[in-house]
């Protein structure tokens, strides 16, 4: 397992907090501080970015392969994600899934995979576009424990992990009343889950 202090990784954090999701922003700050020990970290605070919704046109596969046809801030995010060693999806858990703010960016990441199909464990998925794919960490924030929402969230991250081809993935749930020490502990657990320890 790589020690975060001993290796230089490039991490991208997609912060899907909505206005008023202060806990998510706090987690983002803590996460960023931890990751800064290990290299470069870019945090995108998505609610402050003008990013159009996916048109469902498949232009990023056919017309301008590898790049979305819409020229906005998402292009920079997609490029960073394509070459990142670690991708973190940070979101308030909304109906068990991601917030709109996070999802508006994820919908436009199909440019980073190929249109062609392959089978993974007997199920059909799209092929990877890049040889190197960063590990994936999904962190969901809930007001309080909620078994059903947590199960849906963990399943969603696991499904994304099949489709996005990370070498490893992990999920973590943080509650509004977790104090900072608990948040740090949970973030470290999530990083250990993708083979990164922080000592």
């Amino acid at each position: 397992m790589a020690n975060l202090g001993d290796c230089m990784i490039e991490a991208v954090v997609l912060n899907g907090a909505r206005n008023g999701d202060t806990k998510v922003d706090e987690v983002s700050e803590t996460l960023s501080s931890i990751l800064k020990n290990s290299g470069q970290v870019t945090v995108f605070q998505l609610r402050k970015m003008e990013i159009a919704d996916c048109l469902g046109c498949f232009g990023c596969w056919i017309k301008t392969p590898g790049e979305c046809v819409i020229n906005d801030a998402e292009r920079d995010i997609a490029k960073k994600l394509a070459y990142a060693d670690l991708k973190v999806f940070l979101t308030p858990i909304v109906f068990g899934g991601y917030s709109y703010e996070l999802k508006k960016v994820l919908d436009r990441q199909i440019c980073n995979i190929l249109p062609f199909f392959t089978k993974i464990e007997g199920e059909v998925h799209h092929e990877a576009r890049y040889e190197h794919n960063g590990s994936l960490v999904g962190i969901g924030v809930l007001p309080k424990p909620d078994a059903e929402s947590e199960t849906i969230f963990k399943t969603l991250v696991a499904r994304n992990a099949i489709n996005m081809h990370p070498p490893a993935y992990s999920t973590e749930i943080i509650y509004n009343d977790d104090d900072e020490a608990k948040v740090i502990e949970k973030i470290k657990e999530a990083l250990v889950g993708v083979g990164l320890k922080n000592e």
Partner: protein
């Protein structure tokens, strides 16, 4: 006649009227209308563009007895704008309690041959219903919807026979005030064509479309790392 008499179709595909989501939802809505329901439909992406159209969406949803949400699977979940609309509806329902019992039925379609890949999206929709006090009337998931190509289901031929049958059953269930039956769900989940044929056709289809755009040699392009 059942007390539920107003059905609202919410189409959640960015492709709007050309989408398979619209075709699936419209077929069901037509059956509901034939069964005596009043019907209306809205395109979510268009409705979310302005405060005025959002207000219209909230108003129509508030007036509906049965909400039918139809959308394509995006990244194992709902398209972002559909989530945005559900967030808006949930926020409104927190401040203004709904005056009547409402039901939600969902139709998801995806481009993979396996209908099971819709499960997480359906779970999210069900969770939305639970959190907003809407009665869950069931979900239908279609895999490998490509051959429908957004055509009205009546014109989609033999390949869509199970889809039509499933929606016929679902309409009967919903008209009787029941949730969509397991039989209808299973029928919708049946592959339209064999998996091996779907894969060959889909992979060939991408190459053909690329050729038409003159990008056949660029399909594997990568962004520069600098």
């Amino acid at each position: 006649m059942n007390e539920t008499n107003r059905a609202l179709l919410l189409v959640g595909s960015p492709r709007g009227s050309k989408s398979t989501s619209k075709a699936l939802g419209t077929y069901l809505l037509d059956k509901l209308r034939s069964g005596g329901f009043e019907t209306a439909d809205l395109h979510i992406q268009t409705s979310m563009r302005s405060e005025e159209s959002q207000a219209r969406l909230l108003e129509l949803v508030g007036a509906g007895d049965l909400l039918v949400l139809a959308f394509p699977l995006y990244i194992d979940s709902l398209p972002a704008t559909v989530i945005e609309a559900l967030e808006l509806l949930a926020k409104q329902r927190k401040s203004i309690a709904p005056s009547k019992t409402q039901r939600l039925a969902v139709i998801v379609n995806n481009g993979f041959p396996e209908a099971t890949q819709n499960s997480t999206a359906l779970a999210i929709c069900k969770r939305f219903a639970v959190e907003t006090g809407i009665e869950w009337a069931g979900g239908l998931g279609l895999g490998g919807g490509g051959p429908i190509e957004g055509k009205p289901l009546e014109d989609a031929g033999f390949v869509a026979r199970n889809v039509r049958k499933s929606l016929d059953m679902a309409a009967r269930d919903l008209l009787e005030g029941k949730a969509v039956s397991e039989e209808a769900t299973k029928l919708m989940a049946k592959p339209l064509i064999p998996k091996w044929l779907y894969l060959i056709a889909a992979n060939y289809g991408w190459k053909k479309q690329a050729k038409a755009c003159g990008t056949q040699d660029k399909l594997y392009d990568q962004k520069s790392s600098t």
